[in-house]
């Protein structure tokens, strides 16, 4: 029983990390209608930014603050150069183009940072561990990270539901023409959304860097799990992504211990189950 509770706690923690990575994807997908396979690369960008900036500044949070605007600029540039041409194209061309971006990003990473795994230190004031049960402790940074993820999730939901820019984003999701009729330049709205999606993925990569090592392909595992979260939550729904990520995290943690043979199928089985009951995901419109 105690083990199950600890696993649920683990699942929630893991789920919050996934949420941070998946939230950007659901925004970009829901609002821009773009299937972005390069989302994992943005996570990787964050991880390597954390590596470089932490070694320069000595603090992961400082690095994240510096890295976020870089990621935003990077996302905006990618949107301007490539992605904006895809809004009216079908999903297949988006898949092909963003796949091409992965090839380029991975190779660029290898040229810039090399192939060895690296580590990013947690700040000294958060480097200890707290005892959880007799035998098991939790690193303070991991707990702090959980708090940060939770705070970011709440901030995001506040922005989406309570602010003018959030209203515009929600309007843009359902009706691009309407936003333009109201006198807003949807091109900038779209660029902003894509850049925010990039920054969210990068932020996830940066904040997770101290608990994760930084290595080539670090973003790849994030990609598919993020898509699963997006589908479970309902495309474009932040609230859905939040619950979906928690569900995936908990299912994964419990599955590894109680259904070890099926652990790698767990998340897919969960997705299939959700889609069987709600074809549009938890908070999505039915397909």
């Amino acid at each position: 029983m105690e083990l199950a509770l600890i696993q649920i706690f683990n699942g929630v923690q893991y789920g919050l990390l996934i949420f941070l990575a998946a939230s950007g994807l659901t925004l970009v997908f829901g609002i821009l209608g773009v299937i972005n396979l390069a989302h994992g690369s943005f996570y990787m960008l964050g991880a390597y930014l954390a590596l470089t900036l932490t070694s320069l500044t000595g603090d992961i949070f400082l690095a994240t603050l510096l890295g976020a605007p870089i990621a935003v600029a990077f996302g905006a540039a990618i949107e301007f150069l490539f992605v904006r041409h895809l809004y009216k194209r079908d999903h297949l061309q988006q898949v092909l183009l963003t796949f091409a971006l992965i090839l380029i990003f991975n190779e660029t990473q290898r040229i810039l940072w090399g192939s060895y795994p690296h580590s990013v230190p947690a700040p000294s004031y958060l480097s200890g561990s707290i005892s959880l049960t007799g035998a098991l402790s939790y690193p303070v940074y991991r707990l702090a990270l959980t708090g940060i993820c939770l705070a970011l999730a709440m901030a995001m939901m506040f922005v989406i539901t309570r602010t003018k820019i959030g209203a515009l984003i929600r309007a843009g999701e359902s009706n691009r023409e309407m936003v333009e009729l109201l006198g807003f330049d949807s091109r900038w709205l779209y660029r902003l959304v894509f850049a925010s999606g990039t920054a969210l993925a990068a932020a996830a990569g940066m904040l997770a860097a101290p608990v994760e090592s930084v290595y080539p392909g670090v973003g790849e595992r994030v990609l598919i799990i993020s898509f699963v979260v997006v589908v479970i939550g309902g495309i474009g729904s932040i609230r859905g992504a939040f619950l979906g990520a928690l569900a995936i995290g908990i299912a994964d943690a419990l599955g590894k211990v109680f259904l070890p043979g099926f652990a790698s199928m767990m998340i897919y089985a969960l997705m299939a189950a959700v889609l069987a009951i709600r074809p549009g995901g938890l908070f999505g419109r039915a397909a």
């Binding site: 991975n106 795994p117 690296h118 035998a135 690193p139 290595y215 943690a253």
Partner: protein, 393 residues
């Protein structure tokens, strides 16, 4: 320097045309083509690079020639992608028509490669991939391994753990062939020695979310954990293990891949991790000292076990080529000579078993302050099983 030498050799080849044995002389003059099928991108890129560097260094130190002939390397990136493995091997064997094939790191890729190499008969040396079957049931007279067998390393690890007085352990690895082979080898030695395996935990490959496994380990309270991970996953596991403070009560053991290449990345979290491997950086023998110094001088970075494997691969090839005086068309002689290879490697005494897998010492090391320190010899001259091999020498 190298260019000049090639130039010179081409000259001798041309001059030899007029000699009575013209055809043979041309073959002697042209460089021996050595195909390197290794990962130069993706997760294992660092390993491929280390192996390549050591191999190139070996040839350079030998004056650019082995067995009297120049060596030219043809590199091919295998991306550690098994679906491309057969095609890329074909490219080297049939397209580039390499005289000797060297590769690779990823076991799945190596299986595909070894299969084609066995069919084609091209002399092949495996500088890393440890899939047991390659030198057991799937062995072939022209396929050599200069690294280790998965079960061999873990068997040695199990022995060392018994010797350290450990009676109860939990195993943890990824659910894939190498992981299962490692656990099998470990269990063989550990159960023989009277140990008890409390639980075998497998995580989906290549999942690096270890918290739930750590919680389970904490609840099982074993004396030690035997874990097989490598690269980024290994670094993350060591850090998470320490972060959960399990390292204060439970010893962390594993084959040396757990700590090699990630010593710096894990930092203080890795202190006390004990691993067993066929190499240790600080082995006190002249070959190792010379090799490390030369590698450091050439590439401004430290050699690792993968570099040693690359080096020894060329040493085995060197012995074979010397025996046939550089005539790679005498494949049977070349293979026979390589099978008898015995020399002092940076890793200690090296020879090949009847199924062409190294018979070698395994060393117990302890990770401390970013370096694997040699503790002692765990098992001396350990040979891997040759079970199922129908082409014993």
């Amino acid at each position: 320097m190298l260019v000049d030498r090639r130039h010179l050799l081409a000259g001798t080849g041309a001059a030899a045309l007029t000699a009575p044995f013209g055809r043979f002389a041309i073959a002697q003059g042209a460089p021996i083509k050595v195909g390197l099928l290794l990962p130069y991108s993706g997760t294992y890129a660092a390993l491929g690079e280390a192996i390549t560097r050591a191999a190139e260094l070996y040839v350079k130190q030998a004056g650019g020639t082995l067995g009297g002939r120049a060596i030219s390397f043809t590199r091919l990136d295998d991306e550690s992608e098994p679906t491309k493995a057969t095609d890329l091997t074909n490219k080297l064997v049939y397209g580039e028509k390499v005289d000797v094939l060297i590769g690779t790191v990823h076991s799945g890729v190596a299986m595909a490669m070894a299969k084609i190499a066995a069919e084609a008969g091209v002399p092949t040396l495996i500088p890393n991939a440890g899939a047991d079957v390659i030198t057991r049931a799937g062995c072939a007279p022209n396929v050599f391994r200069t690294s280790f067998g998965n079960g061999q390393v873990s068997y040695a690890t199990g022995k060392a753990m018994i010797a350290a007085g450990i009676k109860e352990a939990v195993t943890l690895t990824w659910q894939y062939a190498a992981g299962e082979e490692d656990v099998a080898g470990f269990k063989e030695a550990f159960l023989e020695g009277g140990g008890k395996v409390l639980k075998e935990i497998y995580l989906p490959f290549p999942d690096v979310e270890f918290q739930s496994a750590l919680a389970e380990i904490a609840s099982l309270k074993p004396q030690a954990v035997f874990s097989f991970f490598a690269g980024g996953g290994a670094a993350k596991f060591i850090k998470d293990f320490a972060g959960a403070k399990l390292n204060e009560k439970i010893a962390l053991w594993g084959p040396g891949f757990l700590t090699d290449g990630v010593e710096k990345a894990v930092g203080a979290a890795g202190n006390g991790v004990k691993t067993v491997l066929h190499y240790a950086d600080d082995l006190d023998n002249p070959q190792n000292k010379a090799f490390r110094a030369a590698f450091e001088a050439a590439y401004k970075t430290s050699a690792d076990v993968y570099a040693v494997q690359g080096w020894d691969t060329m040493a085995v090839l060197d012995i074979g080529l010397k025996a046939v005086k550089g005539d790679v068309s005498k494949r049977a002689d070349l293979n026979a000579a390589m099978a008898k290879a015995a020399f002092d490697s940076p890793r200690g005494p090296f020879k090949l078993s009847a199924s062409r897998n190294p018979v070698q010492n395994f060393y117990l090391r302890e990770l401390k302050d970013g370096a694997n320190r040699l503790v002692g010899v765990a098992v001396k001259d350990l040979a891997d099983s040759t079970k199922g091999c129908r082409a014993l020498t």
